[in-house]
């Protein structure tokens, strides 16, 4: 029943999507658009929950459930299994598209009817494109005969709480930019006086905020589950989410200039188009099987061709439209370098340059392969030597930007304002280096910049000045903490990889780690070897007992390593148990990762700041309409 209902509603959503596309084209009555937008939302909700139901009750008559589930799987992973595979995740993608479609529809009123109709038409076009893709190449409701007794299981490396909610949050981010895209297309067609930027801003904020937390959760997963000791690997798939984030950041900031100065309008429209296109290209990279990673579910070339053709259509249409219709949004106003808008403009340029750099690094191996048939890989050294020098000045400016006023700012007054934060920065930097005692240029620069941001925003936070957006201050504070964590964990990381027998011990930093014994344990759907490590500090006091595992999942015949981590505000101790046997010993990897926790705290604070800003902007929108 559920598979049938799901499939039927998927087709129904195709109908409502097509219907909405055509009636918004005719700019018809509210009544019809109402039916279309609500019908689309409800049918895709039913479709999604039908698949969810199939996964929860383990209905193995559905191929998708058979391929990705198993009766012994814990409930949380039965649920996350819905989007842990290509077909199901497309269904989630469609659901999020229709939710944003509904929110665009909610903006509809008498004054903006033709503008919102145009946005709804574009959104319907995107939605229909993805529904067709799902139905034609990746229908999650495909049946299986004869019905199997049990499923093939779910990739154990994806069985992780952070990863269970990572895709939905990330999709809100990616897909949220579809609404921004639709609004900018409508703006290009528009000839009336419409406050389009105030419609666009809540969507940009939502997309950016959720993209931030989605990426952070992906990193959390990589850090805790992969057992490689790091949290960011410049993997093409990570880059695919990082690029829209960078452009989204630029977009968010330049929207403020549009709001306050009515300038940079064309630039904002172009950025909105490019951000969504990068989201779709990211989807293509991930889903076409053009490169391998944990995210590449699909290796069917027809899927790749479809998404590519759709991307070409969206990109070609929107960029040409921009070329022909953006003239009315161009202006020739010049900004003073030393002003708020000046700092935002520099931030914009730097973000776009970083994005282009990351894009080049990501697709360079593919271009080289296409032209010369050689395989190369672009890795961390490239990104470290290109991204860091561009992002450092951006962070420096970020600290002072919010304090500057619009128009021309008095340099001396500004200097007076920042004296307290300069002092705080110096003090905190000295304290940090007193504690960690490692001196490298990048380390010093990172720490100074982190405290520069943190202290500037702390002073703003306690100023109780209504002039500044509280959401912005909190987000910026989060960025400061994030930089602190990134610097600490990447510059001061210590790594020890050795072979250890039971009873042996090893020193890392000020800790002494004793390998006590190995136990065999049994989990809900796996067997594991569990190492017992006793961690002592330099006073011979027991800090913690760490128990990394080496798991075997018999159903999918996979091995995974579970790192065991002890976290406090200053550092993580991270132990991974590798291969081995009692006679020769086990390979043990131990990492000392300073300040990692601040990356996660920073990300959560950025998220909170984003949510606060979103609320403020939604209120503003309500008052104005």
């Amino acid at each position: 029943m559920a598979p049938f209902l799901g499939n039927f509603s998927l087709w129904l959503s195709l109908f409502f999507g097509t219907y909405q596309f055509f009636i918004s084209k005719k700019n018809s009555k509210l009544k019809f658009i109402n039916i279309a937008a609500k019908g689309l939302l409800i049918s895709s909700l039913i479709s999604f929950f039908s698949l969810l139901h199939c996964h929860i009750v383990s209905d193995f008559s559905v191929l998708n459930v058979f391929q990705n589930s198993h009766t012994t799987k814990p409930l949380l992973y039965k649920i996350s299994g819905v989007w842990g595979n290509h077909e199901g995740s497309m269904l989630l993608w469609i659901l999020v598209l229709t939710i944003f479609n509904y929110f665009i529809f909610k903006l509809y009123n008498e004054k903006n009817s033709s503008f919102i109709s145009k946005a709804l038409e574009t959104q319907a076009f995107i939605t229909v494109g993805f529904i067709l893709f799902t139905i034609l190449t990746s229908n999650p409701f495909e049946r299986l005969f004869p019905i199997q007794d049990n499923g093939l299981g779910f990739n154990p490396i994806l069985q992780d709480p952070a990863l269970a909610i990572h895709p939905p949050l990330l999709y809100i981010g990616y897909v949220g930019f579809s609404a921004v895209f639709s609004i900018s297309i409508a703006t290009l067609y528009n000839s009336e006086k419409i406050p389009w930027h105030s419609y666009m801003k809540p969507f940009v904020l939502t997309a950016w905020t959720f993209l931030t937390i989605g990426i952070a959760l992906g990193s959390v997963w990589a850090y805790y589950e992969l057992g490689w000791g790091g949290w960011w690997f410049w993997d093409p798939v990570e880059n695919a989410s990082f690029m829209p984030w960078l452009l989204g950041t630029a977009l968010l900031h330049s929207l403020i200039i549009v709001e306050k100065r009515k300038s940079l309008q064309a630039w904002v429209l172009l950025l909105s188009i490019l951000t969504f296109l990068l989201s779709v290209i990211g989807t293509f990279l991930v889903r076409s099987g053009i490169l391998t990673s944990v995210h590449t579910f699909a290796l069917d070339p027809s899927r790749g061709i479809y998404i590519l053709a759709f991307t070409a259509l969206l990109g070609g249409y929107s960029l040409i439209l921009f070329g022909s219709k953006s003239k009315k949004y161009f202006d020739n106003s010049y900004f003073s370098f030393f002003s708020k808008e000046g700092s935002i403009l520099i931030n914009n340029i730097l973000m776009v340059v970083v994005c282009a750099t990351v894009l080049l690094g990501t697709i360079y191996p593919l271009i080289i392969e296409a032209f010369t048939n050689n395989k190369i890989s672009v890795g961390e050294p490239y990104y470290n030597s290109t991204v860091i020098p561009i992002i450092l000045p951006a962070i420096l400016i970020m600290g002072i930007g919010p304090i500057l006023g619009w128009g021309k700012e008095d340099k001396f007054k500004t200097f007076q304002k920042i004296i307290p934060s300069i002092f705080l920065t110096i003090i905190m930097t000295i304290i940090i280096f007193f504690v960690y005692q490692t001196y490298t240029f990048i380390g010093i620069a990172g720490i100074i910049l982190a405290f520069w941001i943190i202290s500037n925003n702390l002073f703003l936070l306690f100023k109780k000045n209504k002039k500044y957006s509280i959401g912005m201050i909190i987000s910026h504070l989060g960025i400061g903490l994030l930089i602190l964590g990134i610097t600490g964990s990447s510059v001061w990381q210590k790594e020890k990889i050795t072979k250890m027998k039971m009873g042996e011990n090893i020193n890392i930093k000020t800790y002494n780690i004793i390998f006590e014994k190995i136990n065999e344990i049994k989990g809900p759907n796996y067997l594991a070897l569990q190492g017992n490590f006793l961690v002592l500090d330099n006073k011979k006091q027991v800090v913690v007992k760490l128990k990394p595992e080496n798991r075997f999942y018999p159903i999918t015949n996979n091995f995974t390593t579970e790192a065991s981590i002890h976290t406090n505000l200053f550092r993580d101790l991270y132990i991974v148990l590798g291969d081995g046997n009692p006679n020769e010993g086990w390979i043990v990897r131990i990492y000392y990762n300073p300040l990692v926790i601040w990356i996660w705290i920073g990300a959560v604070i950025i998220f909170l700041g984003g949510i606060i800003a979103l609320r403020v902007n939604l209120k503003k929108l309500k008052i104005s309409s």
Partner: protein, 176 residues
């Protein structure tokens, strides 16, 4: 902002899409890892043979016929899947099939070959994985084609599928 600049994103966008399209249209496998040993002599090694009582010396073994070298293990599930194709290769007259048993127990291997059939003219033991390191093996299973002059002509990482089976046959024809 200069309006002419809009041409830049359009050009970049088109270039990216064209590259992707080209890569999708040609036959390629992203998990295909290039081998540094291609067109080079097989690495030198000596090894015990599983069912015959003699020491296999690589410097004397690869100079009269085309050889397929297959790294396998009983604990490796995909090895079971590709076994049918290894058997098919064994039936062909032009080539000799050698198996290298990677980090495995002798007892289990004998049982495994007994159950599934033994396509290998010789099974060499690589108990500590040294031979695999010399050959640059990335993961089990992995298959190499060595010409009658002892030159490595082809490497495939992962199980042999129908497509790869056909491809290897084509390569053998070409070398021959």
């Amino acid at each position: 902002m200069n309006k002419q600049l809009i041409i830049i994103p359009i050009v970049i966008f088109s270039l990216i899409l064209l590259t992707f399209f080209y890569l999708l249209s040609i036959e390629r496998n992203p998990s295909n890892i290039p081998s540094n040993l291609l067109e080079k002599k097989v690495p030198n090694f000596e090894s015990e043979s599983l069912l015959k009582n003699y020491i296999f010396d690589s410097s004397k073994e690869f100079n009269d016929e085309i050889t397929l070298v297959n790294f396998f293990a009983t604990w490796c599930k995909p090895c079971k899947e590709e076994h049918v194709y290894i058997k098919r290769f064994a039936k062909e007259e032009k080539i000799r099939v050698i198996g290298i048993n990677y980090k495995d127990s002798t007892k289990k291997t004998i049982k495994w070959l007994g159950d599934l059939g033994n396509p290998y003219s010789n099974v060499l033991l690589d108990k500590n994985g040294r031979i695999a390191i010399d050959w640059g093996v990335y993961g089990i299973p992995e298959t190499f084609i060595v010409s009658s002059e002892g030159i490595i002509k082809y490497r495939h990482a992962g199980p042999i599928t129908k497509k790869i089976y056909k491809k290897i046959n084509k390569i053998i024809m070409e070398i021959d």
